[in-house]
Amino acid sequence: MKHVKTIAKPELNKITEHSGCGECRSSCQSACKTSCTVGNQVCEQRVLVRNSGK
C-alpha cells in the first residue's frame, strides 16, 4: 500500500484456548508500585511457546 504501512497486527480479538490462563504477571497501575500497564506485559503462553522453540 502506498499510504499505509502496517506496523503490528496481533489479532487481539481472536480469543484462543489459552486466553485467561492467569499465569501472567500481576499488574498495578498505581504510582506507588512500579505500575505495570497491561499492554507492556508479555503473555506467558507466548513465552512458553517461544522457549519450547515452536
Partner: protein, 436 residues
C-alpha cells in the same frame, strides 16, 4: 473503534479491537479525521480511501469486538503484596503510606504471620503455577531477617506443591548494603529501587527523618546493585510531582548514571497537596513525554546509552490475552495485600481502610462478597472505558484511585487517563520507529 493521532509529523492509526497499528500519511489521517480534503488530488483521495477499505476488509481497521463472557466466579489468588514492615527510615513528602504506617501503628510483620501468608497464598492458588510475592512496606529491608526466612519457607512449600514463586522487593536503598544487594540479586525476580532523579529533585522530597536529602545515602548502594545485576530485572523508579514537571531530565539523568531500566510515575495526591499535579500541568507533561520519546529512540540506538523506560515498553504483538486486558490488576480477586498483623486487603492502596478489610490470614476465610465486587469490575462495568481507545492497554485504571477520588471503582480518575493515553501514543511512536 479507531484512534488516529500524530506524533509531530508522523501519523498513525490504531485499531482498538484488533490491536493493529498502522503508520499512515497525512492524507489518510485527514480522511479518518473527516478533515477538509480540498487541497488533495482527487485520484489520490480515491486511492487512499480504497486502502482504508482494504484494511477494513482484512480486519485491521474498525474490527469488531470479540464475543466474550466474563467468568468472575474464580477467586484464586496468585499474588500477594506482603507488608513486612509498616515503618520507614525516610520521610518522603508524597508518601501515600504516611511514613510507612498506613495511618496505623509502626509495626513489623512476624515470621509466623509471613509464613501463614505464604500458606494462605499456596492454599488459595488453585491450579496456578506461578505465584508472586512483593515485599513491600514501609521499607521492607527494615525487616530483612523475616524477608529472608519467608523466601526460604515459600520456596520449600512451593517445591512440595509443584509451584514456583517470583519475588519482588521495593526498597528506598538506605539499608541496601553489599550483603543485602547480593541477597536480593540472587533471590528476587525484580527489584525496585526508589530514586526520583536529579539530586536536588530527589532531596527536596525524599528526606531522612532529620530533614536531610537521601540522595548521597543511597546512590552508591544503587550503583553497586546495578553493577552486579547483569541483565536480570530491576527498576530505578521515581515519582514526579508538580515540582519537577520537567521529569524527562530526571529520566535521562538516571540513564546517565548508568541505569538502564527506568520508570518515573506521576504522583497521585489530592488537589490541595503542594506536590499535587493539576489539570493545568497536562500540556507541560505531554510535552515532556514527547521529548522523552524522541530522545529515547535516539539513545536506544547507542549500546552505551540504551535504556528501557517502563511506560514506553509496549508489547503490541505478544502482549497479554483479552481476558487480562479486561480486568487489569486483579486487586481484590487474584492480587491481595497483607498487613503486618495478617489483615488482608484488596491491594496495598487499600491497606488500613477498614471497610475494605477482607479478613486475616489466620482465619483463612475472606469476605468473598466483597471480593466478587472486585472480580466483577472490568472494562465492561466502566462506562467511560468502554468508549476509550486506550482500554485494552490501560484496563480501566487503578480501582483504588477511582475509589479514593470518585468514590466508585467504576469511575476512573481522569488525570491518570489523560497521561495514560499520552504515554500510549508515545509508546506507539517508539514502537513504530523501532519496528519499521
Amino acid at each position: 473503534m479507531i484512534h488516529a493521532f500524530n506524533f509531530k509529523d508522523d501519523y498513525f492509526v490504531y485499531d482498538v479491537e484488533s490491536g493493529s497499528l498502522h503508520e499512515i500519511d497525512k492524507l489518510i489521517f485527514d480522511i479518518l479525521k473527516n478533515n477538509d480534503l480540498a487541497n488533495y488530488d482527487k485520484k489520490e483521495v480515491e486511492e487512499a480511501k480504497a486502502e482504508i477499505e482494504t484494511l477494513k476488509a482484512n480486519g485491521l481497521l474498525d474490527a469488531p469486538a470479540p464475543e466474550y463472557k466474563m467468568d468472575e466466579k474464580r477467586l484464586d489468588v496468585k499474588a500477594l503484596c506482603l507488608h513486612v514492615c509498616h515503618d520507614c527510615n525516610l520521610r518522603c513528602g508524597y508518601c501515600f503510606a504516611k511514613e510507612g504506617t498506613y495511618s496505623g501503628a509502626r509495626e513489623m510483620m512476624s515470621l509466623e504471620t509471613a509464613k501463614k501468608a505464604m500458606d494462605f497464598l499456596i492454599d488459595n492458588s488453585a491450579d496456578r503455577k506461578i505465584l508472586e510475592v512483593d515485599f513491600f512496606g514501609g521499607e521492607p529491608l527494615m525487616n530483612f531477617d523475616v524477608l529472608k526466612k519467608t523466601v526460604e519457607y515459600a520456596k520449600q512449600r512451593a517445591k512440595e506443591k509443584g509451584k514456583f514463586f517470583k519475588f519482588t522487593t521495593t526498597t528506598n536503598g538506605v539499608l541496601l548494603n553489599k550483603e543485602a544487594s547480593e541477597y536480593l540479586n540472587d533471590e528476587m525476580d525484580n527489584v525496585v529501587l526508589s530514586l526520583d532523579g536529579r539530586k536536588e529533585v530527589n532531596d527536596s522530597v525524599r528526606k531522612t527523618p532529620n530533614g536531610k536529602g537521601s540522595f548521597d545515602l543511597i546512590i552508591d548502594n544503587f550503583k553497586y546493585f546495578r553493577s552486579i545485576r547483569g541483565d536480570k530485572s530491576y527498576f530505578v523508579r521515581g515519582t514526579f510531582t508538580s515540582k519537577n514537571l520537567d521529569f524527562s531530565k530526571d529520566v535521562l539523568f538516571m540513564n546517565d548514571l548508568g541505569f538502564d531500566q527506568i520508570s518515573i510515575e506521576p504522583v497521585v495526591l489530592s488537589d490541595d497537596h503542594p506536590l499535587a499535579i493539576h489539570e493545568k500541568d497536562m500540556p507541560k507533561i505531554f510535552e515532556e513525554y514527547e521529548n522523552l520519546a524522541e530522545e529515547y529512540v535516539k539513545r536506544r540506538k547507542d549500546p552505551e546509552k540504551w535504556f528501557s523506560f517502563f511506560h514506553f515498553v509496549l508489547h503490541l504483538n505478544d502482549g497479554p490475552c483479552y481476558k487480562k486486558r479486561l480486568v487489569g490488576c486483579g486487586a481484590g480477586s487474584e492480587y491481595l495485600a497483607v498487613a503486618p498483623n495478617g489483615d488482608v486487603y484488596p491491594c496495598h492502596q487499600f491497606v488500613g481502610q477498614t471497610k475494605f478489610k477482607l479478613g486475616n490470614v489466620f482465619d483463612g476465610k475472606l469476605n468473598d462478597e466483597l471480593r466478587h465486587t472486585f472480580a466483577k469490575t472490568s472494562l465492561f462495568t466502566k462506562d467511560e472505558c468502554q468508549n476509550c481507545w486506550a482500554k485494552y492497554h490501560c484496563s480501566g485504571g487503578c480501582n483504588a484511585n477511582s475509589v479514593n477520588f470518585n468514590g466508585d471503582m467504576n469511575k476512573p480518575y481522569k488525570p491518570a487517563c489523560e497521561m495514560m493515553k499520552k504515554r500510549l501514543e508515545c509508546s506507539m511512536y517508539v514502537f513504530a520507529k523501532e519496528n519499521n
